[in-house]
Amino acid sequence: MNHECGPGGPRSSHERAWRPAVRLEKHLWPAIIAALLSAVAFLWASPFLWTLVASFRPEGAGSADMASLLPDLHPTLENFRNALESGSFGLYYVNTVIVVAGVLAVQCVTVSLAGYAFARLRFRGRDLLFYAFLLQLMLVPPALIVPNLRTVVDLGLYDTLPGVMAPYFASAFGTFLMRQTFLALPRDFEEAAAIDGAPWWAIIWYVLLPMAKPGLVAFAIVSITAHWNEFLWPLMVISDPANHTLTIGLAAFTRGAEGGKEWGVLAAGTLLVMAPLAVAFIAFQRRFVDSFVFSGVKG
């Protein structure tokens, strides 16, 4: 089809002949594409729409029509009450928040220090150490659940929330992100501080970190999302139901559901697990998108 692209003599007459068709295309194609996109978007959103509709549907609505996407005329909060009572979701929320916050707090320290070292200091073995960090991006923690579980047992952390957090306290992704962030900052301020006799920790804490906030926020978004959603590792480490996180609770809940009967309650439970991140995303879309584009390395 390349010959069409070449500059040719008969083109001008062609163009004139085609003009009405082109105009039609100009209006028709965007309309077709918009319709097609709306259909695909509806298809993509339908699992969520269905959850939303089902979670507010009264129990007695009958399971024959439980798949209907049409909202019920008498919405109820009954399902949410049942989910919160039967699944001890309140406790799971607390545990999940502890894990997410604990991981993030430690990570902020480790990645800031390491990111600063890689961005600003010269030392022997730096390249080698950088590649050693890189390894964590390939050997992602889920691949190493079996040996890591034994390490957690050896450390006496089995069936504890710190046991769930520990493998994530170092983050190669966070280190790279902070390194990039520090590299982009001007050196003038820290040099001035150093000449005034400020120690290294004061330079990081008072000079660099306030300017590196966007990097930290981006990292926090990715870290919170990853650990809020995590399932396999906590499933292996935790056995006491009092230590369950939201995803473990939801999985147990799903497997315990019988057919369509309990779908309303399960839909409500699923919504309770998804809601915090979904709401945060819709509120801070731009930030989320930028963070996740950067997060590719985290996989």
């Binding site: 070449g6 918009a34 993509w44 699992p47 969520f48 269905w50 798949a67 209907s68 070292a117 200091l121 030392f123 730096r126 390249d127 050693a132 960090f133 890189l134 390894l135 991006l137 390939m138 050997l139 992602v140 691949a143 190493l144 659940i145 079996v146 040996p147 890591n148 390490t151 520990a166 493998p167 306290f169 170092a170 983050s171 992100l177 040099e191 150093a194 000449i195 006799g197 290294w200 959603n229 399932f231 396999l232 995803t247 939801l250 999985a251 799903t254 057919g259 369509g260 779908w263 439970g269 697990v273 998804m274 995303f281 819709i282 879309q285 998108v289 996740f292 584009v293 590719g296 996989g299």
Partner: protein
């Protein structure tokens, strides 16, 4: 330029640079890296050594028998295990079966939502939302979508006069159902990389092609796709790693069944260790999957480096 390029002190007058450097103790860099290295050692380096050693031994569970050295026996056992062979084959089908439609959809979505209209913004949210929810939650949703007879899929198929198969119960279909779920879950995430990649496609080249009379398909095929090649390579690598290391949905939906139809490598490892207590086998299988992960990553180290630098 390499990712580990040094941060030179160019641009600072030499005497100032020396003054700055003199204040820093020589061990400081290592002290700053120590906390990270401690946890990397415990949970990234040590475990690889640990499985390499443990895979050489066998301790039958519950029999009270002593630990015995079996050399490569565990590898032989794993490789000869029909469940492992099935899991490896499934994982290959799963990886390709997810990757191809996901890449096509991710690019199509990115092209569709490029414009900064309100409609495009809504589409972007809708397409991205699945990748933000836990895989377990996605599995819960699809548990009911796939429910025979009364689930969302069968309910609306019935309205069209069609009769669906047993989506998760039929061993010929189940893996494809899991693939469908994963495509829905991941396409929007990779869309983000294509959106970012499209911003780097030189505008002039596209316009030049337009002036030369290239139609939309030709512009995509000969201008945009080649310019997006690094994005595609990058997304392929992170997608492959992800497809080898996430099985939450398999645990919730099928437990690898029916008859191992949806068993994947990591699920096989999980099952060997957590349910069958065959640590030797689990260790050998872990090391095999570590080898696969390293092969994928080293085969594409340049791509990873580009990603580590913030993707383009």
């Amino acid at each position: 330029m390499s990712v580990v390029s040094t941060t030179s002190v160019d641009g600072i007058e030499p005497d100032r640079a020396i003054a700055v450097r003199r204040r820093r103790p020589r061990l400081l860099p290592y002290a700053l890296l120590a906390p990270s290295l401690l946890f990397l050692a415990l949970f990234t380096y040590l475990p690889v050594v640990r499985v390499a050693v443990e895979a050489l031994y066998d301790k039958p569970h519950g029999t009270g028998a002593a630990i015995s050295y079996v050399g490569l026996g565990n590898y032989a056992k794993v490789l000869a295990d029909p469940a492992f062979q099935k899991a490896a084959l499934n994982n290959l089908i799963y990886a390709v079966g997810v990757l191809v439609p996901t890449l096509v959809l991710a690019l199509a979505f990115a092209l569709a939502v490029q414009r900064s209209t309100h409609f495009a913004g809504v589409l972007r949210t809708v397409f991205f939302l699945p990748s933000l929810v836990p895989l377990v939650a996605a599995a819960s949703l699809f548990f009911f979508i796939f429910l025979p007879g009364i689930g969302l899929l069968d309910y609306y198929l019935a309205k069209l006069g069609l009769h669906g198969p047993n989506w998760l119960g039929d061993s010929d279909i189940a893996l494809w159902s899991v693939i469908g779920l994963t495509v829905w879950k991941n396409a929007g995430y990779y869309m983000l990389f294509y959106i970012a990649g499209l911003q780097n496609v030189p505008r002039d080249t596209v316009e030049a092609a337009m002036i030369d009379g290239a139609n939309a398909w030709q512009r995509l095929r000969f201008v945009i796709l080649p310019a997006l090649a690094p994005t595609t390579a990058f997304v392929t690598v992170i997608a492959l790693i992800q497809l080898l290391t996430s099985v939450d949905h398999v645990i919730v939906l099928t437990r690898g069944g029916p008859s191992n139809a949806t068993n994947l490598l990591l699920y096989y490892i999980f099952q060997s260790a957590h349910e069958n207590f065959e640590y030797g086998k689990a260790a050998a299988a872990t090391l095999i999957s570590v080898a696969i992960l390293l092969a994928i990553s080293f085969g594409s180290l340049r791509v990873m480096e580009r990603g580590a630098r913030g993707h383009g």
